[in-house]
């Protein structure tokens, strides 16, 4: 950790204004830190999906020119394993974080936060993690327990 008092650089950084910190920080953590206000239901998400996602990811997330987002038929220990959001992803918040920053690939950043909540809900539903009448928001999303939540071994702290 750097503790020196005297700057080792020329000190040209400028204080970042609060609005910038708020607008630029898009990171959503597993505990929900970073999630915005807003909400969306599975049903609204289906509408978003049909309008903005289906062209690449296929009907019901079964895959198209881009990868499948649901529809695992077997498990991670089969050969070959079947990795999807439902079988593999450890946190539901990741789905919000990624979709909001990167999707739809053809028009990233174009969805409202409500739309991102909705399509996140829809994808969780397609992966049989939540029900058809559920919705997602800043409280519910971090509370979702993903099937593969405990599926990861931290290789940095225990190098093999």
């Amino acid at each position: 950790m750097v503790v020196a008092d005297e700057l080792i650089g020329p000190g040209l950084g400028l204080q970042a204004p609060p609005e910038m910190l708020k607008q630029w920080n898009r990171d959503v953590f597993p505990d929900g830190t970073g999630l915005p206000l807003g909400r969306g239901t599975v049903r609204e998400g289906e509408t978003v999906y049909r309008a903005h996602c289906i062209g690449c990811h296929g009907s019901e997330g079964r895959g198209g020119s881009a990868e499948e987002l649901a529809g695992a038929e077997h498990s991670l220990i089969d050969d070959p394993p079947d990795k999807t959001i439902g079988t593999y992803w450890p946190y539901a918040t990741t789905l919000f974080d990624f979709t909001r920053r990167s999707m739809p690939l053809s028009n990233p950043g174009s969805l409202t936060d409500d739309q991102v909540y909705a399509v996140t809900a829809y994808l969780l539903y397609l992966n049989r993690i939540i029900g058809p009448d559920d919705e997602m928001n800043a409280q519910l999303l971090p509370a979702v327990v993903m099937p593969n939540q405990d599926g990861f071994i931290d290789n940095y702290r225990r190098d093999d």
């Binding site: 040209l12 630029w24 198209g64 020119s65 990741t94």
Partner: protein
């Protein structure tokens, strides 16, 4: 015996098919091309390209490979540095780009690119390798393709930039900070979590690649350089560094760049690129058209430090000889190895294996698969075997 010598008279075995001139060749009889402000490769080397594997419906999503089988030495020319983009190459106006450092810091700060250019810099020759490099090795049948299209998601450049520790010191790291979430300013705004101790150790805010400013496809105007660690951490078009107590668990450190093991559990935060080596000459796509002396030449590298030793076998791994390492041998950098070899037309299997200064050794494929199964996708670093037939044909084999 006339004035013109054909291949039969003084052409060599395989290559001298053209007639050689006794008179001045045409290009010695007229002025050549004028000077150029910025050069490009010879028209006769147009086949030496990055090979593109992209998504038809999303042409900026995919990879392009460094043609390692066409290259020599350790530097990758920037025009041939491999590419991995999630949503294409952004055309970032450097005057409008800003780097934001925030989160668990005492002073959240922004920097313009021209500010960062005024900071103290360091240079290093260093490889960047995608965690997904060489992944065709997991397939049950050995892929038959040139080295570069199999192992060429690795390239090596001289990078110059500002130590990350310098700007972090300016922002003032709070005690609870353990990770930095880095974010790129491309259309995918890719984010990923980097341990703070690595950031303070040897990471750079890279501004220059091989002497000149970064190429757009390599992160212009600013990228993160994370020496020896997997490519995805070397965030391009770097826009934001978010200091945090925990990783963000981004898509590219959970869904991707994690290795599913046969147990059903997956390795996460598998950062270091383990020792690897591959013989580039001769290799698949080349052909031996004569018996006699050859120089076996290849590349070795390790994310743990310097290459300590490379051994080469010409009998499928029964016996090994130590290759010569071309100086300079630098940590976390491509190292060129070479060894003379006499071929008398026999069937052979060539292999190379790398040892690094941290004591890690490149494994045989069977060992690696015993440890990892075949569905980890990332971090394939097994020994590569080239079988050569009596006819001089070279194929990729599993042994």
């Amino acid at each position: 015996q006339g004035m013109i010598f054909t291949a039969a008279t003084w052409g060599a075995l395989s290559s001298q098919t053209a007639t050689a001139e006794l008179d001045r060749e045409s290009w010695t009889k007229q002025p050549g091309k004028p000077f150029s402000n910025y050069g490009s490769p010879s028209d006769y080397e147009k086949k030496v390209i990055r090979w593109i594997m992209a998504n038809d419906d999303a042409p900026g999503n995919g990879v392009s490979w460094t043609p390692l089988h066409e290259l020599e030495g350790i530097v990758t020319p920037s025009g041939l540095h491999f590419e991995r983009h999630h949503n294409g190459v952004p055309a970032i106006d450097p005057e409008r780009h800003r780097l934001l450092i925030h989160g668990l810091v005492k002073r959240p700060l922004t920097f313009s690119v021209s500010d960062i250019l005024q900071y103290p810099m360091q240079s290093r020759l260093c490889f960047i390798e995608c965690g997904g490099n060489s992944n065709a090795g997991w397939r049950s049948e050995p892929i038959q393709t040139q080295v570069g299209y199999f192992h060429g998601m690795a390239s090596c450049s001289e990078w110059t930039g500002v130590p990350l520790s310098v700007v972090l010191q300016e922002a003032g790291i709070k005690g609870r900070a353990k990770w930095i979430i880095a974010e790129g300013g491309d259309a995918s705004m890719m984010n990923i979590s980097l341990p703070l101790d690595k950031a303070l150790d040897d990471c750079l805010l890279a501004l220059y690649q091989n002497g000149e400013r970064l190429r757009a496809e390599n992160g212009y105007p600013l990228r993160l350089l994370v020496p020896g660690w997997e490519g995805v951490l070397n965030v391009k078009w770097l826009k934001r560094l978010h200091l945090a107590a925990k990783p963000v668990m981004a898509r590219n450190e959970t869904a991707k760049y994690t290795e599913l093991l046969p147990s059903g559990k997956a390795r996460q935060f598998s950062f270091v690129m383990e020792p690897k080596s591959v013989i580039t000459h001769p290799s698949f796509g080349h052909r031996l058209d004569r018996h006699g002396l050859y120089q076996i030449s290849g590349l070795a590298w390790s994310g743990r430090g310097k290459i300590a030793k490379v051994e080469v076998s010409a009998d499928g791994g029964k016996s090994w000889a130590e290759a010569e390492l071309q100086e300079p041998v630098l940590p976390k950098c491509f190292t060129r190895f070479r060894i003379p070899w006499r071929w008398q037309g026999q069937d052979v299997v060539l292999k190379s294996r790398a040892f690094d200064e941290a004591g890690a050794v490149q494994p045989e494929r069977a060992e690696l698969i015993a440890r990892r199964g075949r569905h980890g996708y990332f971090h394939y670093n097994a020994i590569v075997s080239w079988a050569i037939t009596e006819a001089g044909e070279i194929s990729h084999v599993y042994l």
